[in-house]
């Protein structure tokens, strides 16, 4: 379990309780249970307290937590017969984007998402979830396939943003993102999206221009990273706390602004503390969102999706 910077005092208490129990295991007859249990209670209270009032910057850290379930984990746990489909048929297969045919509650669907990787090797292979044009073009291909065969599309968003690289630019990063958004808007099948971690700018929009968009409780969705915003507007990258605050990038604020449709509760202490519970909650939300859209005609789905985005911006936040 990796602790975040703001969980330092929590780490101390949980460490102490663990130490006590380890000590007891080595010295038979030593009874520490009462003391350890007290520490556990204290830790839980502290956890409840911390996570009740996470600041936007703390939420960014939770959203980026390396132990949080990633796209691959959700696909493995929530889908059956997952059959990955690869390549953009033009240049390459981008491993920052995974996707393919699968069954969700026995129903055939197309599932697509950003995958960040879980250790050094996979993180490099996945390019930390930062897609290149090929990733968006693979997604376009899969969405199109789903459209033609009437399969709902599920997207799982978790990316710091599109990859800012030389080749990516030369091969049309902008065009690929724009076309993916356009494809989202033209699908005659239900498109539902969950922001499971980081919804980084245009790289997220390319997948999340959906009929229904949900966000995990401690995920974030923003036009720019707080660090990037701080260095541009404050001319000081260390002002990321202020920037995170100002950008209104939390699931709670985005729901108020009407940008997303629902917030999915996370287990106490974040998805990283109880991955199975977080995955199950996302599964439930996906089921509910798909049920909402079931039986709708292709044309109605397209029109409703467009209308939904045209209407965004109609409400601001209370002063």
């Amino acid at each position: 379990m990796q602790y975040l910077e703001f969980e330092k005092s929590l780490a101390e208490i949980e460490g102490k309780s663990e130490e006590l129990r380890a000590l007891a295991r080595q010295n038979t007859g030593m009874d520490v249970e009462k003391e350890a249990a007290a520490l556990d209670r204290k830790a839980e209270a502290m956890l409840r307290d911390l996570y009740k009032g996470l600041t936007p910057w703390q939420k960014c850290q939770v959203a980026r937590h390396p132990d949080r379930p990633h796209c691959k984990d959700y696909i493995e746990a929530l889908f059956t017969e997952y059959t990955p489909l690869a390549g953009d048929r033009n240049f390459a297969d981008d491993h920052a984007v995974m996707g393919g045919l699968a069954r969700f509650n026995d129903q055939p669907v197309m599932v697509i998402g950003h995958e960040k990787g879980h250790d050094t090797k996979s993180r490099i292979a996945r390019n930390f979830g930062m897609a290149r044009p090929e990733g968006y073009r693979k997604a376009i291909r899969l969405m199109d396939l789903a459209h033609r065969f009437g399969l709902p599309v599920i997207t799982l968003v978790d990316t710091p943003g599109a990859y800012p690289g030389k080749g990516a630019e030369e091969r049309g990063q902008s065009e690929a993102i724009a076309r993916a958004t356009q494809k989202c808007l033209s699908l005659g099948v239900p498109l539902v999206s969950v922001i499971i971690g980081e919804g980084g700018s245009g790289g997220a929009v390319a997948f999340a221009t959906a009929n229904r968009v949900a966000m995990l409780e401690h995920s974030v969705y923003s036009v720019i990273s707080p660090e990037g915003c701080a260095s541009i507007l404050w001319k000081d990258a260390d002002k990321m706390r202020e920037a995170a605050e100002a950008l209104r990038l939390t699931a709670q604020d985005l729901e108020k602004l009407g940008v997303i449709d629902r917030v999915i509760a996370e287990p106490l202490g974040g998805a990283q503390r109880d991955r199975a519970a977080a995955i199950a909650s996302v599964g439930k939300a996906l089921g509910a969102m798909l049920k909402d859209l079931a039986g709708k005609k292709p044309d109605a789905l397209v029109r409703a999706r467009r209308q939904k985005f045209l209407e965004i911006g109609g409400k601001g936040l209370a002063a």
Binding site: Q173, E175, G314
Partner: protein, 329 residues
């Protein structure tokens, strides 16, 4: 013509850009250093007469040069909520807005107009880099949607001039949402079977490039315009290597297949007319600086000398009888 009938109280634009500077001002070309007399520069559409460097041009000056006789009618853009996030960095967003409005004389970073270009009716929309870096917020999104709706209503083509550093951070997620919103606008044009021509000008970057600016039926860029998703500095920091000469410039993008053409600003208008008339099956246009189209009911408007390469006399004389599409009062 029936489209006159559903037109209510148009506003007629003066040929003058409101930020017009006095005659005696000199501007130094940032590229070659030549001192250019202001009049000379405006007559040359803000292209350096010595090195051909394309400087920024305001939407009003651009439209004055684009439309016949320099006459166009502004299309009203629905006002978004001001400062929806109560955003504050080192300054408050409303203060930044007021400063930009004062500096430019414009309300926002996008201008929508309709009129005739080479006797070819079009709707045009142009982004103003001098207004908060042309940044795409809700107003810009609304402007593109309004432009597309007007184009669909009239069945006219849409020409869009992009220029922006990207999304307007002060509107947070709502600026990001302009990517899908403006893409809906592009879809409207597509469904209506209307040409959508994008002219990418310096600079067009970030979320703007990754939405409406890269979804044109035809992409034309001005010479040497920076066009990218991630800026060169960000890329150099990421990959830790020096980027090649001309990277992400218009000519480089042309080489990499992202553009149809790179066209000098002075040749742009004729090229747009020609492309649009071919796409819409119209006969070839008369190549000339045309006076504004005759209007059945002349309306009075001030007609100062034009900072455009049209014959000032013609523009001046006809400006009063301008505004063909909007003579109903």
């Amino acid at each position: 013509m029936n489209w006159i009938s559903n037109y209510v109280r148009p506003t007629i634009n003066s040929l003058f850009s409101r930020r017009e500077v006095p005659e005696n001002l000199w501007t130094k070309c940032p590229e070659c250093g030549t001192m250019l007399f202001h009049r000379e520069l405006t007559d040359n559409l803000y292209v350096c007469t010595s090195c051909d460097h394309h400087m920024a041009i305001s939407p009003r000056a651009r439209f004055a040069a684009l439309f016949d006789g320099g006459i166009f009618t502004e299309v009203k853009v629905p006002e978004p909520l001001p400062d929806p996030l109560h955003f504050r960095d080192q300054k408050k967003y409303p203060d930044r807005m007021r400063a930009a409005q004062k500096a430019t004389g414009e309300k926002e970073a996008m201008l929508v107009a309709e009129g005739e270009m080479g006797r070819t009716p079009i709707v045009a929309v142009a982004q103003d880099f001098s207004f908060m870096g042309g940044s795409m917020g809700m107003y810009v999104g609304n402007a593109i949607i309004a432009a597309a709706e007007r184009a669909v209503e009239r069945r006219w083509p849409l020409v869009l001039f992009s220029a922006a550093g990207g999304a307007r951070m002060q509107e947070g997620i709502l600026s990001l949402m302009q990517m899908p919103r403006t893409t809906v606008a592009v879809e409207m044009l597509r469904e209506a079977g209307l040409p959508y021509i994008v002219v990418l000008t310096h600079p067009t970057t970030g979320g703007v490039t990754a939405s409406y600016a890269m979804l044109g039926d035809v992409h034309i860029a001005e010479p040497n315009a920076l066009i990218c998703f991630a800026g060169p500095r960000v890329i150099e920091q990421t990959i830790r290597e020096k980027l090649p000469e001309g990277f992400q410039r218009a000519e480089y993008l042309l080489d990499h297949g992202m553009l149809d053409r790179v066209t000098h600003r002075k040749a742009l208008r004729d090229e747009l007319v020609s492309i649009i008339r071919m796409l819409t099956g119209q006969p070839p246009a008369i190549k000339a600086d045309l006076p504004p189209p005759a209007a059945p009911d002349p309306v009075s408007a001030q007609a100062p000398a034009a900072p455009v390469p049209t014959d000032a006399a013609i523009a001046g004389k006809s400006a009063g009888a301008a505004a063909a599409p909007d003579s109903k009062k």
